[in-house]
Amino acid sequence: MDRGVPRLGFANQFALVVFAGFAMATASALSNRSTSTLWIDVVHVAMPALASVMVIGLVRSGILPPLATRAFAYLIFFSVAALTATGFMSVMNGLAVSSPNPFLYGYSFYSASLAYLVLMEGRSASFVRTFDIANPLMLATGPLVISVASMRHWSLRGRLNYFFPFLVVGVFFFIVLGLGLGPALAIKEQLNLVSGLVFGFVFELFIYVNFAGLSLIVYAVAGIIGMRVPLNFKQPFSASNILDFWKGWHLSLSSLLKELFYKPVRARWGTYAAVMVTYLASASWHGMTLNFAIWGCLHGAVFVASIALLKRKHTIWAFVIFPPTVVIARMIFGTPSFDSLVAIVNHIPTRTDATVAAHTVLDWSTETLIALALSIALVFVEYACSRMPLVRGRNYKFLRVRFTQVVLMIGIIMFTTGRIGDVIAAYGQR
């Protein structure tokens, strides 16, 4: 341990992130000649910090008895659902790329983190947690702040050596694969089942590379500046059933939902009820729409069915229902409205639909087709090589070895272009 290296505390880390954020926002505003929008960045930083301080102050004050504190935690969590139901906040279907209301920027993320904090720590919640709950780096990208640790025992060189490869992987996912796949999502305009399923498939890949890419970037940047945040994605496709899949997908939200819903409900009504309640709570957090409710019910039902199948050792059947569930659920998740979903389902697939969908795919740009091929290859390697030493740990080690790092770096320089797709955090900012 190198004690001679000065360490950064949480407050300094927060200040560093805020400073870097403002510097980037200023550079971007100046290059776009729109400096008048800079005040919005100030609001984006100030509101989450203010809300966090107020909530933590309230629970620390002891005004709320223990039961009311628990109720307060759930109230905070479901406030997102109420805001989407009343139209104050947009839903999170992976396509709403920014918060329409600057005062609610990142609300769904820091409110969920606060709910978790209130429930788990109650009166002992520390004001220091404001620095990670309101961390702009997290709010802009999507991973929830459920546990952040300081890495005081790592030297800067050590942190760089360990975390930079994650940064390269994240950048490759986010800008090479994510930007490349972005234009392909326009196929959602074709309201038929064939195109809908193509959309579901591509959208699943897009959400994965976009959100996992950003999460890896956050994981790496936070690690380099001295904060250890949980790895939000762990090779979700190194799975042979839906249970395994969720052990690698958006883990910060899964961990939070587990404490808020799964554990308490399971203690009273058993596993199956706990699973369904957890998925419906997750659906409501994404937005109060019928599409999300159907998405939650579908995932919950398949999860329950998979548990039952695995108990009976029917691993093949648990695998067979896994990929179609992921694709169909993502199609439902990303379809803009219930009416559109009804139109898709009611439209009996025809050969023409298939031809049109095929032509649409073939018309995608070279960059998009390359990104699609590479994303499919990534998923294939995650699954097919899941028992190999470099893949088994589900921490992207196969992408962090020197050879693949060189390949990814070359790929970033070869295929990155800022003129296709949108630089968006599919799961961030709302």
Binding site: Q405, I412, I413, M414, F415, T416, T417, G418, I420, V423
Partner: protein, 307 residues
Amino acid sequence: MVKDKYVWLVALFVAGYVTWVTVSGFLVPATMFSGSVHDQKVTRMQDLGSVESVIVGGSNAVYSLSAERLSELTGETWFNAALPKEGFTQENMTAFLDDFVNSVDGEKISTVVVSSSRQWHAPRRDRPAEQELGFDGMKAAPFWLPSQSLWGLFSEPPAKIFPTMISDYGDLIHDATDLCEPNLRPVATEWATDREIDSLLESWLPLVHSRFPHASIVVTIPSRYMVEPADPAASGEYLERLQARIDAWIGAHPESDGIQVSTILETNYDDPSILCTSGLHYNAAGRLLRTDALYAAMIEKGVAYVG
């Protein structure tokens, strides 16, 4: 030792990426006609002396109006500051005119001709408000991403490098490159709706008035190639409607007090030999015809004088 090698690898990667991001910005604009027109007009603007009148608008004015000819006719110095697709976005056009007033004294501009094809109805013609498009109509890359992929540079046909095709007056030099591939399709004939007119006025009047506060603004209805002559009654009705919307706009914008806006309905032609690429894009002969007719109409309206 291995870790030290990785540091060098990272340094090499970062240096390579930054270099490519920087270089790619210089390679892309020359590959598209509209981007190249913008770049060359900006270059011409930097060498401008005194300018007294300006043409703004879209590609119809790029191809079919001549600032040089108007300079000869009026005795004033004109500059053609029109851009293909009107710069694609309002932000682009604003930035372009800001570049222009950095080169000339906007307060000394006496006449601005606004020539836009948005006077005809077209579905989805509204200017994209949210999209960040470049002057070549493609999505503008954020400063930290390359403007094109290295793969694209090698895999696609060699980029077309346009020769000098913008004159000192900002006019298109038709024979500088093989631009003209005549398309005899007549252009749209359905007049713009009130909402579309309002959108057009909102795009141009505040922008022009703020940059050229003392200029008399001429909103012209561009000349078109038409096989069948336009219905004069419908044209007259549209001209009245346009003027009424302008009056309503001025009434609703007290800050525009003193703004002078007149309208002109230009002459249409049925001679396909004057066309360059479409019914709104004339060749050099057609541009001379249209510019002379516009000048005559401006004289008639009292917004230009014999030089």
